[in-house]
Symmetry: C2
Subunit: 260 residues, 2 copies
């Protein structure tokens, strides 16, 4: 079984609120079906969840009543995106069901503390593909917090022990500078030996790198628990399918190992 993360910037156009990239999603779904592998899917919030979560300051938790409307709106937007992803997969021939992250996960001061995997395991056993997502979840200290798709991938890896973790992005992998800059070079392999060097070369801005810093810190944490992962550009036809099948493909591999 493979845990597949579909990036929010792959599935949506981050510059326009609520813009689902239907064509990209369709092709991604087709490549998944063609690969035939058993999957648990996680997707990000992209232009559905993020703008609302930022607008209402949900990352810091709840301190004002107006934020409750933000929780309702963000949860609604994420459900809408999840439904679009699931319906696209069903159309492509995959038996997929959304599994609501906020119903199975809970945090304490921003840290994931509970992740009830029984529904995920149950649907998998039936041969149905569970599709989870980054979400607003309950937090015993802050009221709510934002559980990112990447953190969720780490939690799923720990609980489900997948053969492989694949992150489908809109860039070729980890680059040594912003993908917008000329001459950006792909780093094909990250190991404990070159990690600090890679990190130092990454630009510090979150958006410029597609949140690559935070993503990498999650991936090395997973790597420390024995799971290597692959970041692949799913905007280029065929690459995702190859990555799912474990075939040679242009990508960044984060090798398992102790990165501390």
């Amino acid at each position: 079984m493979i845990v597949l993360k579909l990036g929010g910037s792959l599935l949506t156009d981050k510059r326009r609120k609520f813009s689902f990239r239907e064509e990209v999603a369709r092709r991604v779904a087709r490549e998944i079906v063609q690969s035939g592998v058993e999957l648990v899917v996680v997707h990000g919030g992209g232009s559905f969840g993020h703008p609302l979560a930022v607008e209402y300051g949900l990352a810091e938790g709840i301190s004002r009543d107006e934020q409750l409307r933000g929780v309702a709106l963000t949860r609604g937007a994420m459900t809408r995106l999840n439904l679009l992803v699931v319906e696209t997969m069903i159309e492509a021939g995959l038996n997929a069901v959304g599994v609501q992250t906020s119903a199975i996960a809970a945090c304490e001061d921003g840290e994931l503390r509970r992740l009830e995997l029984a529904p995920v395991r149950g649907f998998l056993e039936l041969g149905i593909t569970p599709v989870l997502y980054g979400d607003v979840v309950l937090d015993s200290a802050r009221g709510v917090c934002i559980l990112s798709g990447d953190t969720l991938v780490a939690g799923l890896a720990q609980g489900l022990k997948p053969e492989r973790i694949v992150l489908a992005a809109d860039v070729d992998g980890v680059l040594d500078r912003s993908p917008a800059e000329e001459g950006a070079r792909l780093i094909p392999r990250i190991t404990p030996a070159n990690y600090r060097e890679v990190l130092a070369a990454l630009p510090s801005g979150e958006d410029a790198t597609g949140g690559m810093r935070r993503k990498l810190s999650e991936l090395v944490a997973i790597a420390g628990k024995g799971y290597s992962s692959v970041i692949v550009n799913a905007m280029v036809e065929g690459r995702l399918k190859k990555a799912l099948l474990g075939e040679r493909v242009k990508c960044t591999v984060v090798e398992r190992g102790d990165y501390r």
Copy 2:
């Protein structure tokens, strides 16, 4: 806190697949906001979940691979209806979030065995209204089963100990014959004393009575645990609000008591 069930035949037109009664839902949401009471909402499947669940024979569980597509389609349709209900409530000014029943509930041979109420309690504590629904849920013996909104209401009542249970229907309450028949008379109060008589007078057809037989059997089970419930016609403006506030209104009350 009140557990409010919104009937599938209230929210949808059962004669047409995927027909959401937007105007009715808007008014219902308005009456809820005006009442100002704390709620957990459950809605039925109406013309979203039911036709697909029947088409793929999901009530009997999974015995053929084609049914997996039915699970995916039914779950998707229920998510879509839930999103419509939640979005209508948010528009009316209520901070509502969908809570996915299939992520918190599990059955064994058609009987509800697990109902994780932490997310429901957590959102309630924040002042957010959880909106659950009848759904396809995992079943350890049959693969999946259909957990009806009414069974879910019974499970919520047991776990959450609400002050009251209100069922918003598209009929005045329990009638002594099909609402389509002339001279149908409302039974205002059901007690252990008149229950068998009421039941004997009900027509046996499921559709003719809006599933009133099954509904009643759930309600008397809840009544046996100490909870009376009210069935009210939410198609008539103002009645739902009165029922939520505990004011005098045309309805059927199922009194708490031992109905065995």
